[in-house]
Amino acid sequence: MSELAQSPGRLAPALSMDSRRIVPILLVAPLVIYMVVLYALPVASMLLRSVDEPTWSLDHYRDLMSDTVFFNTLVNTLYTAVIVTFGSLVLGYPVALALVRTKKMAPVILVIVLLPFWTSVLVRSYAWMVLLGRHGLINEALLSSGLIERPLRLLNTPLAVYIGMIHILLPYMILPVANALRQIDPSLARAASGLGSPPWKTFLQVTLPLSVPGVAAGALLVFVLSLGFYITPAMLGGPRDITLSMLIANQVDQLNWAYAACLSAVLLATALIIIVACRRLPGIGNAFKMSAR
């Protein structure tokens, strides 16, 4: 049987060498043509507006250097991404560990992680509006318990944006970390504790270092995805919590295509540079399989 599996060429007399090379190309051709014409070329032609208006030049990019609106927005976008990545890691790691280490509760945890995952970003951002609003659930609960006398301003603050984005991106952290934890031999942790290591030491010296590939993959995924957020900051943030995506949409509304294209190129380049810089990290290949859910 193994000999058969090793020599598939001999077993496929119906396929000549030529057709074996051409058939795969014919199979991918329709999608490749579709993606080039209806996705890559539209995006590329839009991006070109940043350098050919009114004539070929990099003036628009040079103008960005001294543009404080752009600079503040870029800093806010990156800063938000850092906080969201860190928050997702802190909240996601314990859940990932519980997902892997418990048997009975694992299916329940998985459902709780996956259902929000597949609920639309719009619906989840709306849910946080209900919770955080001036007359929202959290304010009502705090008022009726007498802890506060006036409603707190929770909605339309950076904090609301962080909470909403962490809620949306948490599964992208949990799933890669859980994947990495699942690959650790459980007898390692048992051996450590059997040899007298206290749980915290076992965790810090055995489990945590071995799960680093999953953490790196999850953090990269959450960071890159949070760079492009638009709906959640628009709904939960205040007037000053502008992300690059929001600024781009705003410029398109004003038909300021050259500037919007410039900003798009910066956003896209930031995401791609981070991915390329991290591609050698262990576990990154898996991250993008994960992102396909």
Binding site: A29, V32, V95, L114, V123, E140, G228, L268, A271
Partner: protein, 265 residues
């Protein structure tokens, strides 16, 4: 065999509550009798569901979303399944290039894709037409189909195809009678994910919907800008339940695919 615990389960419970609670609250608000957002609801009522099911300006966007998502499923599943079959057999450099292009919508920020297609499609007068949404949503949905089918293909025993061919089946017969039935669960899961991707999509719709092709997420977005009444909670609840049912189906299909695989080997 006691598992080594580090984080207390109460901490994990709190984080899970953080994940699940907002959705529970949306459910609860949708059954409220109050005209504004208040929690807990003063009394239970189905009136927001009645509002939704009797308002043409909610139902029309719902049907449009279902129609756009269905067309997206047909287009992306057809193109994506063929491509996944091809990608698996491509030589390595070409394989990386093609999968890079096909999977890139997962990484490229949606706003960049949205304004790109808006820029290109508006030249051809496509803005405000449902076909524009289908064409753009297909690009976004294709990665889910390709990854789902590729994963199923990777689990496929190549000896099954070889056996069919060596026993005299034509390549076409082998495909339709051996390969396709074996990858069907992966194709269907990909199709479901494509449906959800299109059905929930808002950012592309913000640019391409115009006045003529308002989808359900677009309609919800407009509602949230002007008046927040619990109708939107009822709509949200319905979409969550709808999505959960689709995911349930996807789960059953995956389980069945695993069974097929163990039976086949």
């Amino acid at each position: 065999m006691k598992a080594v615990r580090f984080f207390p389960s109460s901490l994990v419970g709190l984080i899970l509550l953080f994940l699940a609670f907002p959705i529970v609250v949306v459910f609860a608000v949708s059954f409220s009798s109050a005209n504004y957002l208040t929690f807990p609801p003063p009394a239970l009522s189905l009136k927001w569901y009645r509002v939704y099911f009797s308002a043409e300006n909610w139902l029309a966007p719902t049907w449009l979303s279902i129609w756009v998502a269905a067309c997206t499923v047909v287009l992306s599943t057809f193109l994506g399944t063929l491509a996944a079959l091809g990608i698996a057999r491509l030589p390595r450099p070409l394989k990386i290039l093609v999968s890079g292009l096909v999977l890139s919508p997962l990484i490229v920020p949606v706003i960049v894709v949205s304004i790109g297609v808006y820029y290109a499609f508006s030249k051809y007068g496509l803005v405000g037409k449902p076909i524009a949404l289908v064409l753009a949503h297909t690009s976004l949905a294709v990665p889910f189909v390709v990854t789902s089918v590729t994963a199923t293909l990777a689990g496929l025993d190549p000896r099954l195809e070889q056996a069919a061919l060596s026993l005299g089946a034509t390549p076409r017969g082998t495909f339709f009678q051996v390969t396709l039935p074996l990858i069907r669960p992966g194709v269907l899961v990909g199709a479901l994910f494509a449906f959800i991707t299109s059905f929930d999509e808002l950012i592309v719709a913000l640019f391409l919907s115009g006045q003529g092709a308002v989808t359900l997420p677009r309609r919800m977005w407009e509602d949230l800008r002007y008046a927040i009444d619990p109708t939107i909670a009822a709509v949200s609840t319905l979409t969550i339940v709808f999505t959960a049912v689709l995911l349930g189906i996807a789960h059953v299909l995956r389980k069945r695919a695993e069974q097929n695989r163990t039976m086949a080997s």
